[in-house]
């Protein structure tokens, strides 16, 4: 009876998946899972037990998608067969759907391992069903806070999920984020910390909008000897003694070569190596460290990891190069203050004055609360250096974005506003002097729409990276 139910659920999932593909219905990444769970509520639990090499779960605010794409790429390049949910399908129905394609009608898996990027609020349920062998937590930042309420609450969701992880499993944590590092206390599984050890990095002040300035234990102000970005850094509490655990996997000698490449040394208990990744910024060094830690736990060699990382290219839209007839452009995803600040900081590598098109939507997937725009440091990072030629703002919240720039001190004459994304792009291209770079910064749904507009104009070449 139980197996009949599973088979029915898998059959239904497969049928709906192919139907929605054939009919072009969309929602194919979540709807089959919803139906499957109605037929057999245990379908995800049953199927995910079938991975011979186990499962990996990745959560945290920033870097989930890039980190899991990196891991998937390294694993595939090393010949491992895996199932991997696509970004945006990181709720329970999306996770369930992702298994449909990789099992046969009897529910037997073709892949050896499952790699799941999981939305923070879904971790309690997903971990209970999947019972992963490895859990990776990247960081906690104020993101779309309107969905979950407060940051401490998000951290507590993950904390109380940790007992669901295989007791012989591994928890991989970012040592530089106090809220994340704290998860490693009083757990029965093995805990491995990763972080950055680079005293030569230009220090940043802890930004005013930092999310965690106060000790997660006693509430006293943390003493930071180094701040890498946001509240990530080397911290200790002089009151109760809470401090940053020493990472066993770490990056040093970071070098931000240009807007698309970064080099650094990696140290691990298994040995050290130098690596160059095709991604900019400190946040991608953290993503790489998470991927390295996870790959090591899965038994990959340092050579396999290095060659996987070096051949990895970012997922669509997160940082994509576009060739307009007269101008090169970069399309970049922005979704919260720390991410946006890192993008701005990365843009400073380009010394020329910037032409900007900033597209802000407030749909559910973007976060309906756009107040975070006011926590982005436009003053310090762009305007202080008189770095903006012009800025066009677009999207459902073009007005809020334009307002943000105006109050940051950008002259009103340099700001124009066009709610419609297509018109916003046309206006921008018309204003752009031939040969100059354009930066298009977009929230998630605005980025999808903008990508579509650019594709229809025939200027996009790359498609989904696998």
């Amino acid at each position: 009876m139980e197996s009949a139910r599973l088979v029915t659920a898998v059959w239904a999932g497969k049928t709906i998946s192919s139907l929605s593909r054939v009919l072009g219905l969309g929602a194919g990444s979540t709807y089959p899972g919803r139906i499957m769970r109605k037929i057999d509520p245990q379908v995800l639990a049953k199927l995910s037990r079938g991975f011979s090499q186990g499962t990996v779960m990745i959560s945290g605010t920033n870097g989930k998608t890039t980190t899991s794409n990196m891991i998937a790429h390294i694993l595939k390049k090393s010949g491992r067969k895996l199932t991997h949910n696509k970004s945006g399908a990181n709720l329970i129905t999306g996770l369930t759907t992702s298994l449909v394609g990789s099992c046969n009608l009897l529910g037997n898996l073709k892949a050896e391992m499952g790699l799941f990027e999981v939305d923070e609020a879904t971790v309690p349920l997903a971990s209970k069903e999947i019972k992963p062998q490895i859990m990776l937590v990247t960081n906690f930042f104020r993101d779309q806070l309107d969905r979950y309420g407060e940051l401490d609450y998000t951290a507590s969701l993950i904390k109380r999920s940790l007992p669901n992880i295989d007791y012989q499993g591994t928890i991989l944590l970012n040592a530089d984020d106090p809220l994340v590092a704290n998860l490693g206390q009083d757990v029965e599984q093995k805990v491995i910390y990763y972080g950055i050890e680079d005293e030569a990095l230009p220090l940043t002040d802890i930004v005013q909008a930092a999310d965690v300035k106060y000790c997660v234990h006693c509430g006293e102000l943390y003493d930071y000897s180094t701040v890498f970005y946001g509240h990530l850094g080397k911290y200790k509490c002089n009151h109760c003694g809470n401090f940053r655990p020493k990472p066993s996997i770490f990056a040093s000698n970071l070098e931000f070569k240009n807007i698309t490449t970064t080099s650094f040394n990696v140290s691990t208990p298994q040995g050290d190596f130098g690596v160059t990744i095709n991604l900019p910024g400190l946040y991608n060094v953290y993503n790489a460290l998470g991927a390295i830690g996870c790959s090591l736990m899965l038994g990959l060699s340092l050579e396999e990891i290095k060659s996987g990382l070096e051949s990895f290219l970012p997922a669509f839209g997160r940082m994509e190069q576009i060739e307009f007839p007269k101008n090169p452009a970069l399309l970049i995803l922005v979704k919260n203050p720390t991410g946006f600040n890192e993008v701005l900081r990365t843009m400073l590598i380009d010394k020329k004055p910037k032409n900007l098109l900033i597209c802000i939507n407030d749909n559910y997937a973007d976060g309906e609360d756009i107040s975070w725009l006011w926590d982005v440091d436009f003053e310090g990072l762009l305007l202080a250096r008189n770095e903006i030629n012009f800025a066009v703002t677009s999207g459902l919240r073009a007005g809020d974005m334009a307002l943000r720039l105006k109050y940051a001190g950008l002259a009103s004459e340099k700001i124009s506003l066009d709610k419609n994304l297509k018109d916003g792009l046309e206006r921008t291209l018309a204003m752009l002097p031939s040969g100059e770079n354009l930066y298009i910064l977009s929230t998630y749904t605005a980025m999808l729409e903008m990508r579509d507009i650019i594709q229809k104009k025939g200027y996009l070449k790359n498609y989904w990276e696998d």
Binding site: D146, Q208, E368, W374, A398, G399, Y407, L417, K419
Partner: protein
């Protein structure tokens, strides 16, 4: 002319873009040639709030609210109340607003006593009230709209001398029941709206600046500013709320 602005607990109570409110106050003064002296006030020490013309108190999470609540009880809360009684202009958002009532009972059952500046009590609620808000307010002498975003589980109930800042058109407001949003007592305003509220409601920012100037110099008349971008943001927020309410 010069305004002295006090920013209360910026290190603890500054969430959801609160710094945008300070920026709006500062810029709209500077654009008019009014000097601004900004002072940040946090835990410890006693302060004479009479030396400030305008006081801003932002929002924060429960944990931070507890620290701030204790500090306010050490004397600052009383001083703050005295300043408002004498006519000082004040704006408190969300968590700050809750701490200036009679008490705030948190979701975990802790009771954080307030200084009673507003006759308001805040009770815990199960459902978090999150989303875009539009309200109509008469505080400027005529009906004006205020737009913003709310995110709170506390339910605030007003009584006595304290009246609501406005009437809810879209959203929940103080408690999701009586259509009231925010609070007004003398020149002190409390509200659940962040977003942040001041940049995209320039009339309200100007009302605060005008009220502070009037108290200090006897005249709160302000020079006109170009509000084109502000109005665009305001209108977009209005139409988004209208569209969502029709769903």
């Amino acid at each position: 002319m010069k305004l002295r602005i006090a920013h209360l607990y910026p290190d603890l109570m500054s969430i959801y873009g609160d710094r945008g409110n300070i920026l709006a106050l500062k810029q709209r003064c500077l654009w008019r040639g009014i000097e601004v002296e900004l002072e940040e006030i946090s835990i410890g020490g006693q302060w004479d709030f009479n030396q400030y013309d305008l006081i801003f108190f932002g929002g924060g999470q429960d944990k931070e609210q507890k620290l701030v609540c204790h500090d306010l009880q050490e004397g600052k809360g009383e001083r703050l109340k005295e300043a408002v009684e004498k006519g000082t202009t004040l704006l408190a958002i969300c968590g700050g607003y809750q701490l200036l009532g009679e008490y705030y009972k948190t979701g975990t059952g802790d009771v954080l006593p307030g200084n009673g500046l507003f006759q308001a009590r805040t009770e815990p609620g199960k459902r978090r009230m999150i989303g875009n808000v539009v309200m109509e307010s008469q505080v400027a002498g005529q009906k004006r709209t205020l737009v913003g975003f709310e995110n709170h589980s506390g339910r605030t109930y007003l009584s006595g001398h304290t009246v609501p800042l406005g009437k809810i058109v879209y959203g929940n407001g103080n408690n999701g029941e009586d259509k009231g949003e925010g609070a007004v007592y003398k020149n002190a305003y409390g509200t659940y709206l962040h977003g942040p509220i001041l940049p995209k409601n320039p009339w309200f920012t100007d009302l605060l600046i005008g009220s502070a100037l009037k108290e200090k110099y006897g005249d709160g008349t302000l020079a006109e500013l170009d509000n084109f971008i502000e109005e665009q943001a305001h209108q977009q927020a209005l139409s988004i709320s209208e569209k969502k309410s029709r769903r």
